[in-house]
Structure formats: C-alpha cells, structure tokens
Symmetry: C2
C-alpha cells in the first residue's frame, strides 16, 4: 500500500548533500551556516520525494517523543469527556505534541497496564483525568514522569492539579439571582459527599452572606442527584412550603430539568413566577429546555488546555513542575439564557 517510503538518505542523495545537511535544514537548525540555495535544494528534494521523517527514529535518538499520555475514566459515560479531551488535544496540537489516550474506568489493573504501555511508548508526561471533580490517590507509577491531575486533585497536593472553581461558579449564580431581586433562594443540592456539593454550597452561602441574607437551612433540599426524579422531588419539597423560595439554584442541569417539571406541574411560569439556575451547562439539556436554562459552565475544555500547557512549560523549563505543585482552580463562567427574572411573588 505504502510503497517504499523515502528516507533521509534518499533526500540527501537527490539534493546532492549529506544527511547531516538534510537533517539540519529540515529541522530549521541550518541557520546562516548553510547557503539558501542549498537549503532550497534540500526542501525541494524532500517535497518531491514526499519525504516524511520517521518520528520513531527521531524519538529514539532524541529521547523525547512529543507525546503525552492521558489516562481517564470511561469517556463514554459522561458528556463532559469530549470537551476535556478536546481542550487537551487542541493545546497539545498547538504545542506540537500528540496525545495517547486510555480509558480505564479507573480500574486499578487496567490502569496499571495503561501506564505501562505509555511508559513503554516513552511519553514525555502524563495527565490523569477524572470525569468529575474528585480527591484521589493517583496510581504511583504516574510519578515516574512529570504528571498533572485533571478534574481531580491529590489529598496531599503532591501533584499539580486543575479543578473547577465550584464555589466561585455557585457564588456568581446566586449573586445573579440576588441582583435580580431574589432574597429567598432555594438550593436543590446533591446529598453526596462530593467536592462539588460542598463547594457549591460554600458559594451559595458566600453570595447570600455578602448581601446580608441569612442562610435558611429550610431552603436547601438534599437529593440523590444520580437518579431521575431527584430534581422534581427536591424542587417540590421547596415549592410546597408555606413560604416558598422565588428562585431555585440547582446542583446541576439535569436536576433543573426536573425542577422545571415540578414548577410547571404547579402552574407556575419560568421566569415570571420563579427563576431557576442550573450548573454544568450541559448543552443538550440547558439550551433545549424551555425557557433556555441559565447555568454555570463547567470548564472542561479550559482544564484540558491548562493541563497540557502546564506540562509543556514544565518540560521546556525542565523545572520540576513548580514547588509546591500548583493547585489550579479554573473559573466557571455564568451562561445566561432565559430562566432568570425579577423576584416574582412579593
């Protein structure tokens, strides 16, 4: 199929120079040493032979592959993986590096094999990604190379990491509600022991406190966010109080989807009678709800970029990734659509 590929020797021959010269000009290290005409001849020869340098040989010699390994949870099961990988990919591309991706579902045995494969392939660095913000114990083998944690962080902060600024995002969401005139703001939160749940609550509290509003525990409902009726039920609990909230902040967009139903079911209108804000900005849901859901963006794309960029600079500065390892919080911007209005009921 391929036919015999042209090698650097063929190019040298055709251009009438040594392979050294070819290598130099093709790698842009010719400088002023090699006359322009010679360089032109080399380029022309390479072009006409459709020469493609063998990156294996090059990597072997250079002892670097311009390849990063990316170990992640099962990407099929979450809509966020795409953005995360795309961000990493785009940044990698920009830097001339290629990504080797393995999806292990974080099964220890698979993971160990995946890391082995990556080490055998001599990746220059590793990225270890979770698919939702987690505090983890990364597999030790990962430390054989420069590594960063993505949407995850080590308990002891011993590895650089990037996670969403959950609290900041939540604070922005609730502040928007307050600015729109709401004072009684319900929070349908996850009952799970997740960084996201705890930190989003922190943001909720921070926003209220900053505006002199007391946190009313009766206004926060905890639900199992992994199961469909969660949003409906959480919202119902809040809406059916004697003094219901005029706005609902939901742990995520899927919960908001349930809240929409609960609200409609009570013949209330969004945003006239009640406002709602979600979290995640899950495009397929938030943009397709009616009215469009105002929500907070999870910065998967940006975190993906950051991870590879951090590694790239660490490698070229051959610094040891910064000491102490940077623990980055990526901002979560507000995405305004149509589900927030002025405080409805007096």
């Amino acid at each position: 199929m391929a036919g015999a590929r042209a090698g650097i020797r063929d190019v040298a021959e055709k251009a009438g120079v040594s392979v050294t010269t070819v290598s130099l000009v093709l790698n842009g290290r010719a400088g002023a040493n090699i006359p322009p005409e010679t360089q032109a001849r080399v380029l022309a020869a390479a072009e006409s032979l459709r020469y493609r340098p063998n990156s294996l040989a090059r990597g072997l010699r250079r002892k670097r592959t311009d390849t990063f390994g990316l170990i992640s949870d099962e990407i099929a099961t979450t809509p966020f993986a795409g953005a995360l990988i795309q961000g990493a990919q785009d940044a990698a591309w920009e830097a001339g590096v290629v990504l080797l991706i393995a999806n292990t579902g974080h099964a220890a045995a698979l993971e160990a094999r995946a890391i082995d494969v990556m080490l055998e392939r001599r990746v220059d660095a590793m990225i270890y990604a979770a698919l939702f913000h987690q505090v983890i114990e990364p597999p030790p083998a990962i430390r054989e190379l420069p590594a960063v944690l993505l949407d995850a962080r080590a308990k002891d902060a011993s590895l650089p990491s990037v996670v969403p600024d959950e609290a900041g995002g939540a604070e922005a969401a609730v502040t928007l509600l307050i600015r729109s005139g709401h004072r009684r703001i319900g929070f349908v939160n996850s009952w799970g022991d997740l960084p996201a749940a705890g930190e989003r609550f922190d943001g909720y509290r921070r926003a209220l406190t900053a505006h002199g509003i007391a946190v009313d525990p009766a206004l926060v409902a905890h639900v199992d966010h992994t199961v469909p009726p969660a949003g409906d039920e959480g919202a119902a609990r809040l809406l059916d109080r004697d003094d219901p909230p005029t706005a609902l902040f939901c742990f995520n967009d899927r919960l908001a989807m349930g809240a929409y139903r609960a609200i409609r079911h009570r013949s209330l209108r969004i945003p006239d009678d009640i406002s709602v804000v979600g979290f995640d900005n899950q495009e397929q849901i938030a943009a397709w709800l009616d009215p469009g859901l105002t929500t907070v963006q999870l910065p998967h794309y940006e975190m993906g970029c950051w991870a590879v960029e951090h590694l790239v600079v660490a490698l070229q500065s051959s610094t040891d990734l910064g000491d102490p390892p940077v623990q980055r919080r990526e901002p979560c911007p507000l995405v305004e659509r149509a589900s927030v209005g002025g405080a409805g009921r007096p």
Copy 2:
C-alpha cells in the same frame, strides 16, 4: 525524574545471557529452544530492573507500531463522540494497539496536517470518523494506509465503512408502536438532506407498509432539527390536526423532548393518551425525561469497535481489506422505557 532506564543490555548482563536471548524470551519466541531456567532468569532480571522495552526502538526495527490513527470531527460538540472513541479504544486495547486521536473539525488544512503527523508517526492504519452519518469524500492522503470510514461512507464505496442501520432502527421503533395498537403514527422528521432523515423515513414506511397501513403524508412533519423549538412545533402541527396521530415517532431525542412539552401543553398524558418514540438514545435526555423515553440506540460504541477490529484482521491477514470494501450497517437496537402505551384515543 525517571533516572536511567534499564535497557535490554542491562537485562542481558544481569541474567548472564545475550540480548538476543532476552529479546526472544521477552517476546515469547523462545519456544523450546531456550531452557526454562534461562527463561526464568531473564524474566527475573527484567522484573527486578523494572525493564520496559522501548517501543520506539522496537517499532523502528519491526516497521510496525501497533498504533492506529483516528481522525474525527470535533468531539467536544457531540455527546456521541465519547461512545465512538470508547468503542474504538476498547477494541484497540484488546488487540494490543494504541490510538492516536486528532480532532480536526474536518477543516481541510488541519486535517491534512493531522494525517501528516500520523504518517510521520508511522501508524499502521487510519480511521476516519464523522460524528453523524454522512456521505463524504475522504481526504486522499488517508489512502496511503489501510483505512476505514466510521459513521461515514464514501460515495463510491471505495473504502470500508460502518454506519448505523438507520432504516432498521426506525422500522423497529414504528413496529413497536404498531404492535401496541397504533395505526395513526406521526413522524416528526428532520427536513435536512441527511442520510439519517431519508433512511429513517424508509424504515417508517417499511414498518407501516408491512402491516398494511398506508403512509399518510399529512402525518409527517418536517422541521429544522438543529434548533430548540423544532420538537414542540413539529409535534404541535401533528397534534392540532382534526385527526391527530395516537403516537409520535421523532427524528431524535431532543425533538422528542419538545414533543413532550407540546403534549403536556395540550393536557395529554404520555403514554396514556399518546405514545412517543425517539431516536439516538441520548442518555442524558432519554432517561431523564418523564416518563422515560423509549428510543432507538445509535451504535457508536459498536461502530468504533468494528472499525478497529476490521483493520486488525485486515492487517494480520495482510489481505487488502476485502474487495469490494465492506460497507457495514450496524444494527440500532430499540431501548424500551415508558413512553409507549396502547393506542389511547379510539
């Protein structure tokens, strides 16, 4: 960080044998030629030195890398990319091959560069993936290697390809509706010139015809499936007829989400008054709608598997990928949830 890695020579030295022997036993090609004790010694030495063969050197020598390139559209923008990649990944893993993934958004220039990079890295084969079923003209450079098209096919069928069996999926969906007693089945279809739209309509017609039901053009609404109110409007058009359908088959799950709203808005209940079936099985939507949406699965995972498996056998049989290139249709299974009931209104 890494320290000097052990090489094959170190292992040979430690085991007191030649590198030839080490290579042979580590690659399982020792056979009966090398006494078990020697083999054990080699294995032990490799283990204790944490020897990891350098796959660059190996690939260079062997002239194969056990790596496939996967060129795809922007994976961030679709929820299906994850499954597709995961399928390819899992099959690749199973076969001992690694995937190099590039997301080009199918921009010609980017794509050409991506293919170049993959050829330089000496991938053994290429997969070219679209993110919805398309008929395309693949970039010529892809043909330098064994290649298959994924969720896409060439006009002239000159490359192996795998796409969903859209018609079969639609037929199964509509047949379910008919078996449930429905005779007037509306179809909210896309008005786009997509293989999916045309073929799903074929399946719709096939199912009706097979059961002696005439296709009533008044029962199919064409909408712009890329914009939010599409589902609501398409469903409304059908529901507001004098003789409305008792069931709605929707081009996709997002449209079904709109149809749910239109139905609720008319105070009809699903599935008691009207049944609805979607297409895609977009987990985040279908499972979270109330009631859960019965829909048709798009087999992205399976298509991903098929693509790499096809390549793997083609490579090892060193056959030329089958002549003519196989054009596979991957089945689209029905996923039953709770949105289909018996024909409601007489």
